[in-house]
Symmetry: C2
C-alpha cells in the first residue's frame, strides 16, 4: 500500500510571543495551531503527536489565566472543539484511537501527548532521554510534563515508568528509521529527547515534521529558538540541523505551531500521498 | 581602614517582562535599575560591575527600537543622565575611574562592563569561563557580549584576548576570597562564568550582591530565572545557591535589577559600613 499522511487539526493554543520566539518576541498573546500527524503505512497506522487534552490543560492553568508560578508559562489559553479532539479527527476518516498501531511523540510536553492514553492498542515509541525527563522532571520542566497519564507511575520490573496502555513500549536512541521511509531524527534542546520526523512519500517531496524544535518558519528565518527549552545552544543547533536536513533530503518543512503556514496545510479528511 | 560599600546609580534600562522572569512574565516593557558597587578596602578600591555605556548601547539596538534579529532582546531601552555614568558617580565621592584598583564583573554582559575600559589603572579580575565566553560567543550570546572594548582582540603571547588597559588581568576559577571579607561566589547559568559577591562589613550584616544570577526579589520568590541564560537548570541552581548563601552568612541580598528594592538601597554619596 501507498503511504498516506493526514494532518489532524487539534485546535489552537495561546502563549506569549516571547515564548514563541526566545529573546525576540514580540510580546503579547500569540495564538498558534496544534495538530497531530497520522501516517498510514504498510506496517501500520503511526501517529506522530496526539494533541492536547483540553479539560486537563484548563485545570492545570486555572482556567487559562496567568498564575504567579514561574513554572507555568504566562498568558496560556486553549481553543478546541469536540471535532478537534483526537477521536473527533480520526472519526473524519472512519477511524478511532484504538486503530492506531504506533504512537510516536516529538516529545512529552502536554500539548503533544493529550491523546496518547486513548490509543489503547498502540506500541509507544519514544526517545529514552524524553522518558527519563518526564519521569524525573526538573522544576523548570514540570509544567510541560504535567500530562503523564499515559505512563505507569512504577513498573514492577525496574522501578522505571512504562506505558500501561500498550502491549509494547520501545525507548529509542539516535536517529531511527522506524519503518521504511519513516525516520525519527534527533533535534534536542527544547527538550532532552526531542525527535523530528521525516516521511518519504511516493508522489511528492519528503515531509519533515519539525515538532517543537521549530515552532514556525519565522523561528528558522530569524534563528529564534522556542522560549521553553532545557538547553538553548542545543536548541539552536537543532534549528541548524533542520535546515540541513531539509536541504539534504529536499524535504518540505512542516512546523509544529505556525499560524502563518497552517492555513496552507492540507488537513483531514484530505491527505498527502 | 574600615571597608566601605557605595552603590553607584547607573540609570535604568527597559526590556520585556518575559525576559526579567523567564516563562512567568508578565510581558510588556519593564524598567529596571542598573548600578555598580564600589568597595573601598584596605587592599584598594574594588569596583563590582561598571554599568552600561549609553552611546554604544543605543547604537547597538538601533535607537532602542526592536529589531527582527533574535539575538537582540525585544523592547530594549536605556535611561541614563551624565551624572549616572561611572565618572559622574565617582565624582560624587571625589574620585575618578583611574582611582579604581580592581575591576570585578559579575559577568561580561554589556550592562555590567560599560565603564571597564575607563578604569585605566585597575587590575581586572574575572572568571575564566566568562573570558572564554566573551572571546568566543555563541550566536545566542553575541548581543550580550557586544561591549568588548575593554579586551584586546589578540594578545601577542598566546592568542587569547586580554585586557590592554590594565597592568594585570587575572582569570579566576571557583569561589575566591579576593581580599579579606570580599568573596566572589560562582553562580553560573545566566552566563557560564557568573560571579556573585559577598562583602563582610564591620557594622552591619554581610551584603550579598547577586549580580544577574537573580535580577530581583520576585525572581527568588517565584524561582524564575532570568530570560537570557545559557543553562536554565544551572541558573535555577544558582537561585537556590543564593538562598543558601544568604542563610549561611546571614547576609542581606542586593539584587542587580530590582525596581521594587532599588528605592530602599542607600546610593552614592551615601554608603554602607
Amino acid at each position: 500500500m501507498e503511504t498516506r499522511v493526514t494532518l489532524l487539526d487539534g485546535g489552537a493554543m495561546e502563549q506569549d510571543g516571547m515564548l514563541m520566539f526566545w529573546m525576540a518576541g514580540p510580546s503579547g498573546p500569540y495564538r498558534f495551531p496544534v495538530y497531530s500527524v497520522l501516517i498510514e503505512h504498510a506496517e501500520g497506522r503511526f501517529l506522530f503527536d496526539s494533541g492536547v487534552d483540553k479539560a486537563l490543560f484548563t485545570r492545570l492553568v486555572a482556567g487559562g489565566t496567568q498564575t504567579d508560578d514561574a513554572n507555568v508559562p504566562g498568558a496560556l489559553g486553549i481553543f478546541q472543539s469536540e471535532r478537534q479532539t483526537l477521536p473527533g479527527q480520526l472519526d473524519l476518516l472512519g477511524l478511532a484511537p484504538r486503530d492506531i498501531t504506533y504512537v510516536m511523540n516529538s516529545h512529552y510536553h502536554l500539548d503533544h501527548v493529550g491523546g496518547n492514553a486513548l490509543c489503547c492498542c498502540a506500541t509507544t515509541l519514544c526517545h529514552q532521554a524524553e522518558l527519563d525527563a518526564i519521569n524525573h522532571p526538573h522544576p523548570i520542566e514540570a509544567f510541560g510534563y504535567s500530562d503523564n497519564r499515559f505512563l505507569c507511575p512504577q513498573s514492577p520490573i525496574d522501578g522505571r515508568a512504562t506505558d500501561i496502555y500498550t502491549p509494547r513500549f520501545e525507548a529509542l536512541c539516535g536517529d531511527v528509521e522506524v519503518a521504511k521511509g519513516l525516520t525519527l531524527l534527533e533535534t534536542p534542546g527544547h527538550t532532552p529527547g526531542h525527535y523530528s520526523l521525516l516521511v518519504r512519500l511516493a508522489r511528492r517531496r519528503p515531509m519533515l515534521f519539525t515538532g517543537d524544535a521549530c515552532y514556525s518558519k519565522r523561528n528558522l528565518d530569524i534563528m529564534a529558538i522556542p522560549g521553553p527549552h532545557v538547553d538553548p545552544k542545543q536548541a539552536y543547533g537543532s534549528l541548524e540541523r533542520l535546515k540541513q536536513l531539509a536541504d539534504l533530503h529536499d524535504a518540505e518543512l512542516f512546523y509544529s505551531h505556525d499560524r502563518e503556514s497552517w492555513p496552507s496545510y492540507v488537513k483531514a479528511p484530505g491527505s498527502y500521498v
